[in-house]
Symmetry: C2
């Protein structure tokens, strides 16, 4: 290693030595920081603090090809003896992409630590949670082998750079080490062959595995690595095994040591250690304001009309529609609830990752069996001793667009979940394992709303975000019974009291009847209270003004356990595809032949440049207590903002 | 609460309303931020964004004693109707000592968050880990009762300040809430009686407990608290239950909500929430540079001479000596190893806290049975499925004096522990539960040294810190076989080759013999390598220069498993009491009647203003592989620097 060596002269000096003189070969540099100038005869006074600082300006061509000798003198003419240091200079550096540009630079001074922010540093690791195979697939990180060349792209390259003589001095060796806890978080593979020899190997599986042997992992915390003479690079590939979570902050350290042999059978001792630090990339969610890539819905025996309409919207908007067939969904239509799309990102690679909910309805195999694949990752959290409730469905897991709150920026937005009020002693909650996972990702600090007032209990039943050209770039849409009653009162005043909500359907009811239903009014006052609470939390935690919020005319009804559900199709539970909204068709009272609820909705959305398509989900979703959003899912493009540039 | 109310006029307006006018009682303030100026007739145009911002400049004297009415107009002369708001202004504030001056100020704007540093803020909580009783004692936090007045001093005061009418409007109430996880970390007690009525109650236990009922805890996450009319304060006392650890960052939140009744049987909804945040104080260790308070040693059947000498040193230095008697220590003399003294600190209270080691030798009952008491806390960590080794003894747990490393200050020093090298696949380690605890305290970020090369495996076998008047205020002392050989060679050269190490003892050996023992030399070269590794780590992690380190002439011997122990009494394993050092008597070769090792030690220490007392621990400690430090423990004064002033 090209570091400096400090030699305390006093300890090696013969007894009675009073002066010393130093001589060395041309490649050696030596500094004696005594307070006195050297004597005229080149001798220096030996003091207890005399320390030689020795370095070399060139790596050695052979072992011990440089020397430094110290002659000790009692008096200036009486030499007592000579100490000779045999020096071998070797350059050793364990390198990673600490400056996050996708290239493994040489010996970055910051490689041993990790710092957030645009002027931060520190290498990044992905959890290798995709599957290179599509047949008999499993998550790549579940095996300790490299099975395909493409798998290496999901790992972080690490390079051992050495420069020195053909061999290390007798008995010296290099070794990589990790701690036991890091052994649960990473694996390291080594590339056996130099670049040239590799090219013919890509075809043959068994040979390939041998070309990338496991160096470090859970069962191998330390391993010798070869020293190759001359100027040389050995490639390693580091694989992340687990996401940040309650018990794992995300940082891992890999050490490289040069070990010195000891006399007899004593263990070797390291005389130089280099260290690199990685942070495992967090799982990141994508808000409605990001560009869609593909849409997922289920096909069931009874949702043909819905499918047709959603297909027209999605494909008409230019996005890909994926239909999960009945043999896979087994009648479970709640595509929103079984999974959440997100992604992981590093300077060298990024890909989508699905978070599989502990909900586990009949759609439970879909995320693993259909979504997992090459460059499509999979992660889940299982509730062990906790009860899974409806609040664990991912209609109850959303994310805001980027916001700034009291000067603090959240450039990737904030995760939003629904839980029980702390004021109620009993209540349903999202499982702790999932909450812990979400909080541990750190870059989209979650907000807990109160959603347990709803029968189904999902935040998407009363809120969503749509893009907007002005202000903060979005609006928060909230369901609002007050807005609903206001609209209906206006219509009544305008003489449309006989117009019917649910016109032509079984439960049709005139506005006059609806507005005179005191129980319904009381229920909606309570619901408005619940939503207002969430409105306050959202304003505070997202830094919103009233002008950033739009109240949608939506009424609720209390069903079982004093819990609520949308009375007519819940327009806020929409799918957002760029500036196109797919909104549950509300079947509101008709005014001049047009649904007044649709008209109101359009009048609120169109000024923002958004177009409204109303989709009939009445029989196949609404009656089952869900709507368009519950029955669909959208994979979106990742943020352009890099998570490591956040100031945390 | 004296917050602002925003009323969206549009939602309450009758249909067809185009103008509105506002009237209100004198204590009401109202702002209509429309873009237009009011019309000449006092009417304003009703716009979808018309929002009234309403506040009150005085608390109410009665329920609904203020009103605000909004008259809506279709045309300027055609009034459509009136909406009337009945207003009750109540001032509500949940208060803590967020500015850390020992006083609970009113409504600190920062009370809801926590920030490190001298300009930081946020209230502080102590783990109530002492015992107010000395008889049948247990740690106070193990019961959910307040048993003595003095116990309240260990808790943090929290005040509910209200100002308003004699009663809240019908059905409204106040409630405190905590989350489930915070329920594991804190309890809240309420003071039932106002100050005056309290005074006579101090004597009677059963009455006392009733006067401070439990309000919040693990089984009560939410509870109504009384509203008392007029200007009023209700005192609460918050008790910390657990130290920061791997699964607990140290922050807890208490919410106060004003709950609004709902129609029918719906749950109440909060319409105002105040929030306070506490951080649980960390456990802090005290380095050798802090002033001693008392010294602890064990009395055994064979250590009379040692006791006499240590007594002379400790009491001669003006400190208190506590001798743990045989019935308690049952022959276990390793007072250093069973426990570590530390303390916890808040603006309102501080006291020492003993960390009980999972070692659990025959001294295991001493920390709980003898040390725990009023204002003397106790904490321990039990290893569940891990093997406890000799590295779990707290001779292997030390702390440096304050240091600054590359510009980063550690004003409370850094904890130092010894572990196995990562290069060895097998090795002993300190248990994870203790390591996790130490790291989680955060304010003395630990350093892991390599101590597994020693038979006993404790860092105090090769290092200690002594105060110094210059440089960084201390020196690091390191055992140094090189320094030992250098001294012995000099003595040999000066003609003392026949002087004997261990003179007069069974294993006496001349310097000539010792210096010709090649196996011993090889062993000590290996030991020097091991110490040099630790020296490099200490230099780097504590920001030390070579001039901050003093090498003590100490030789080691390899015993079992290639592991080492001190050859003669290990002088670095000393007790540091201010500027007085109690050093194991080394029984070195005599030169002119004086022990050369003692002379060398004095020549190194005396220039720093330190005095050396050599204590004979040969038979009773050294032969059992320990020395003075292993056999003693010192409780010291806390740092003057407050932990919350650290910039973390």
């Amino acid at each position: 290693m090209m570091s400096r060596l400090c030699q305390t002269l006093w300890l090696c000096a013969p007894a009675r030595a009073k002066y010393f003189a130093v001589q060395y070969t041309p490649n050696v540099r030596c500094k004696v920081p005594t307070t006195e100038a050297p004597q005229s005869d080149g001798l220096q006074r030996l003091l207890p603090i005399s320390v030689l600082t020795i370095s070399m300006n060139k790596v050695s061509e052979g072992v011990n090809d440089n020397k430094l000798s110290i002659a000790y003198y009692r008096e200036k003419t009486e030499e007592l003896g000579k100490a000779v240091l045999h020096l071998t200079a070797v350059e050793i550096s364990l390198d990673v992409d600490a400056d996050r540009d996708g290239v493994v630079e040489k010996n970055n001074p910051n490689k041993g630590s990790w710092k957030w922010g645009p002027s931060g540093h520190g290498a990044i690791l992905l959890v290798n949670c995709d599957s290179e195979s599509t047949y008999m697939k499993k998550v790549d990180s579940s095996t300790d082998k490299v099975t395909k060349v493409s798998d290496l792209l999901d790992m972080s390259r690490m390079v051992l750079r050495t420069n020195g003589p053909a061999e290390l001095p007798q008995g010296y060796k290099l070794a990589l080490q990790i701690s036991q806890s890091d052994g649960e978080s990473i694996r390291v593979f080594k590339k056996r062959k130099p670049e040239g020899a590799m090219k013919s190997l890509h075809k043959i599986f068994s040979m390939f595995v041998k070309e990338f042997p496991l160096v470090l992992g859970n069962d191998v915390l330390s391993q010798e690595v070869p020293y190759v003479g001359g100027s040389n690079e050995v490639d390693f590939f580091v694989e992340g095994l687990r996401f940040p979570d309650k018990d794992f902050g995300g940082l891992v350290t890999i050490n490289l040591s040069l070990l010195e042999p000891s006399a007899q059978d004593f263990p070797e001792t390291p005389i130089f250690t280099d260290k690199v630090v990685f942070r495992v990339a967090p799982w990141i969610m994508t808000p409605n304001t990001l560009k869609p890539v593909e849409v997922f819905v289920c096909s069931t025996s009874d949702n043909n009309k819905f499918l047709k309409e959603i297909k027209a919207l999605v494909e008409g908007s230019g996005y890909k529609l994926n239909i999960c067939k009945e043999y896979m969904n087994r009648g479970d239509r709640w595509m929103q609830d079984e999974l959440e799309f997100g992604y992981i990102d590093a300077p060298h690679q990024h890909f989508p990752v699905v978070l599989d909910s502990p909900r586990d309805g009949k759609l439970q195999n879909f995320p693993y069996e259909v979504l997992l694949g090459p460059d499509f990752g999979y992660v889940t959290r299982m509730a062990s001793d906790e009860k899974v409730t409806s609040l664990d469905s991912f209609g109850n897991l959303e994310v805001s667009p980027p916001v700034t709150v009291n000067g603090r920026a959240y450039p990737l937005g904030r995760i939003i979940i629904g839980v029980a009020f702390p004021t109620t002693s009993q209540g349903r909650n999202m499982t702790k394992v999932v909450q812990d996972f979400l909080w541990a990702q750190k870059v989209q600090q979650p907000i807990a709303l109160y959603s347990d007032w709803l029968v189904v209990g999902h935040v998407d039943e009363f809120m969503t975000f749509v893009p907007a050209p002005d202000r903060k770039g979005f609006r928060l849409l909230l369901a609002s019974p007050d807005a609903g009653y206001k609209l209906f009162h206006r219509l009544q005043n305008e003489g449309y009291g006989k117009a019917k909500q649910f016109d032509g359907k079984k439960h049709e009811i005139t506005l006059d009847e609806l507005l005179s239903d005191k129980a319904l009014r009381a229920e909606n006052l309570y619901v408005q209270n619940c939503i207002d609470w969430n409105r306050d939390v959202l304003k505070r935690e997202l830094g919103l003004d009233d002008e950033d919020i739009i109240d949608l005319p939506i009424l609720f009804k209390i069903l079982e356990d004093n819990r609520a559900a949308a009375y007519y199709p819940d327009m806020v539970n929409m799918i957002v595809l760029g500036n196109k909204l797919g909104i549950p068709k509300p079947f509101g009272p008709k005014v001049n032949g047009r649904c007044a609820l649709e008209a109101e909705m359009c009048s609120l959305m169109v000024p923002l440049g958004l177009s409204c398509t109303f989709i009939d989900d009445f029989a196949s979703y609404h009656k089952l207590l869900g709507e368009v959003h519950c029955g669909s899912n959208v994979r979106r493009e990742p943020f352009k903002t890099k998570w490591w540039s956040l100031e945390l």
